[in-house]
């Protein structure tokens, strides 16, 4: 079977274990409040997507570009970018030079 002919219904229902894998991939907490009801909603939404099996797509290429006419290329020159201070301004945890994150696998004397 070619990849293009894979149909949604052939994948079958998503299992709880598979959903947990996806939640993990999305960097979300599977134990967060409300995640139980999310699973039910997601299964319902995915079931709704099966309507796409009814549409004939033989010979149709996937859209890769939404613009209706060719996009003009700009000059290959750098634009203004944020200064270090501007970039740091919205971080809750920071030094004068860096964002702070929990230390992993060793670190400097500051503990970060």
């Amino acid at each position: 079977m070619s990849k293009d002919s894979v149909k949604i219904e052939e994948i079958g229902e998503i299992t709880d274990d598979e959903l947990l894998r996806i939640i993990d991939l999305a960097r979300l907490d599977p134990l967060a409040p409300g995640m139980g009801i999310q699973k039910a909603h997601l299964k319902n939404i995915l079931a709704h997507f099966r309507v796409l099996n009814d549409v004939s797509l033989n010979g149709v290429d996937p859209t890769i570009q939404i613009n209706h006419v060719p996009i003009p290329l700009r000059d290959d020159e750098p634009l203004d970018i944020l200064t270090r201070n501007e970039a740091l301004e919205n971080a809750r945890l920071k030094t004068k030079e860096f964002f702070l994150a929990p230390k992993i696998l060793g670190g400097d004397d500051s503990g970060h």
Binding site: I22, L28, A32, G34, L52, V55, D61, I71, P72, N90
Partner: protein, 507 residues
């Protein structure tokens, strides 16, 4: 003074230019309306009017800034230098952008005065403006109903007379549907006409900024202000800016109109069908030709959209980890030691930040998008949805050979009750059925008020207006119903012409 509230941008500019009014009077009236209605509507995440009034101590009309002193509202996902922009999300709580969106900069350069940042569905994901960390927006026509979404705060603010202009973002109807629910004009420009620079990304191949106004002429003015190259959005087309007002009064006698066959959607409210039918009857007496059209993939496009938009969202929102901006969980509360963690702990930190920061609908769409893009599912979901998109575009391209413009409902129902769909995502998504195709095809569309219905009407009885007034100043028992004009790419001038002609006879 009260009459200022109902003035269009054009009228205000005229009065300012001839000296019949001072900007402080306009801002005073806006402040009065905000004080009167905002506590009920919850349309604004923050008000900036206090800062604005001081700027007009020594004021004179400046033709280079012709709209100076006319207030506008900016959606809270459009960056405003030095003013908090949080997308109605906890994960961006306290975020103050160090730069402004192009649409914001151009609005300021034209003289418009920022009144406030509007409430919205978190990260523009929603159709009711109920998924907001600032609480739901109420509809000015009926406080027990939604204002539409995701630009519900922008629409409510214009409908309530806070300002004659608000900007929204339209990823899958988020300008047009709230405009419909609040009796206003809402424009989605062609993809590539307005820069997305500074618009906090939801789904980059779909996002467009558009104006919400009281009149079609104001919509054309607002588009003229924000459109055009800025060298910062790689998908922006190199177009000459158009003078939309030049042709806007030319009527529709030369236009062939396609009427979308909505028989596939048996859930469309009879009151919406009634407004559509009367609009089509009117068109038959004014347009060159009116004929029914069908789009075979129309009922599949909604499912395809709800695969593609979340897929792009899951990628765009991957940047929010709590490190560089927004809310951050306390490591100590997580039981972690800042000095002794593993890589697994860091991932746990990201997960906690993201799960604490994102609301339920955004979480749902991130999971959906991650699912559709993940190994094993990509071909069946994402790639298939992109093929549906190609097919829709091909169908529309063929249709433009036969018609110049398409009329359809904007939403399948009048504004619905707060809370009625919030726990049923599929039913909520279905509200977007008539506004998603234009976004998927990248074509322009405008929603304009098509008529009113009684809140408790059966769709048949004649409308009897109550003497009681709502926040908009209209009868308290009525609800607006929008209709939508869709045109080929870059033919905004045609939809403005059609909408203006309709407006003149139906306002």
């Amino acid at each position: 003074m009260e009459k200022i509230r109902k003035y269009s941008i054009e009228q205000l500019r005229y009065e300012l230019e001839k000296g019949g009014i001072h900007p402080r009077e306009i801002l005073k009236q806006s402040g009065k309306q905000i004080n009167k209605c905002e506590k009920d509507l919850n349309a604004l995440n923050r008000v900036t009017i206090d800062n604005a009034a001081d700027k007009f101590d020594s004021w004179s009309f400046d033709p280079d800034m012709p709209y100076r002193g006319i207030p506008y509202v900016q959606k809270d996902n459009i960056c405003t230098t030095g003013i908090q922009t949080d997308c109605s999300s906890r994960i961006l709580e306290g975020y103050v952008p160090p730069y402004s969106a192009t649409a914001e900069t151009r609005s300021r350069e034209a003289g418009f005065t920022l009144l406030g940042k509007s409430n919205m569905d978190e990260f523009a994901m929603g159709s009711s403006s109920e998924y907001s960390s600032h609480g739901p927006v109420q509809n000015p026509y009926d406080l027990s109903r939604v204002a539409g979404g995701s630009s519900g705060g922008s629409a409510a603010a214009v409908a309530a007379g806070f300002a004659p202009l608000a900007f929204g973002s339209d990823t899958g109807g988020s300008v047009r549907q709230p405009a419909s629910f609040c009796g206003l004009v809402g424009l989605r420009p062609t993809y590539g006409r307005v820069s997305r620079w500074g618009l906090i990304a939801f789904a980059s191949s779909l996002d467009q900024i558009g104006p919400i106004t009281n009149t079609v002429r104001d919509s054309a003015i607002a588009l003229s202000v924000i459109e055009g190259q800025d060298g910062r959005d790689a998908t922006l087309m190199a177009l000459e800016n158009e003078d939309y007002l030049e042709s806007i009064e030319n009527g529709i006698g030369d236009l062939r109109v396609g009427v979308l066959d909505v028989s596939f959607a048996d859930w469309v409210d009879p009151r919406v069908r009634k407004v559509m039918e009367s609009s089509v009857e009117w068109l038959k007496g004014h347009a060159k030709e009116v004929k029914e059209i069908t789009i075979s993939s129309f009922d599949h496009i909604l499912a395809a959209y709800y695969i593609l938009a979340p897929s792009e969202a899951s990628s765009n929102l991957a940047r929010y980890d709590g490190i560089r901006f927004g809310s951050t969980v306390d490591l100590a509360e997580m039981g972690k030691d800042v000095d002794e963690n593993t890589a697994a702990d860091l991932l746990d930190y990201y997960r906690k930040n993201r799960s604490q920061g994102f609301g339920s609908e955004v979480t749902r769409r991130i999971i959906l998008g991650t699912f559709a893009l993940s190994a094993g599912y990509y071909e069946a979901y994402y790639r298939r949805a992109q093929k549906v998109r190609t097919r829709l575009r091909a169908e529309l391209d063929a249709l433009w050979e036969d018609v110049d413009i398409i009329i359809s409902p904007t939403a399948p129902s009048p504004p619905f009750k707060l809370g009625s769909l919030v726990d049923d995502p599929v039913a909520m998504y279905r509200e977007d059925v008539f506004v998603v195709p234009q976004a998927m095809a990248g074509v322009p569309a405008v929603s304009i008020n098509g008529g009113f219905t009684d809140k408790d009407d059966d769709g048949i009885s004649p409308l009897k207006k109550s003497k009681m007034k709502n926040c908009t100043g209209r009868a308290a028992n009525i609800l607006p119903i929008g209709i939508q004009f869709t045109a080929p790419p870059f033919r905004e001038s045609v939809i403005f012409r059609a909408a203006r002609t309709f407006e003149k006879e139906h306002a």
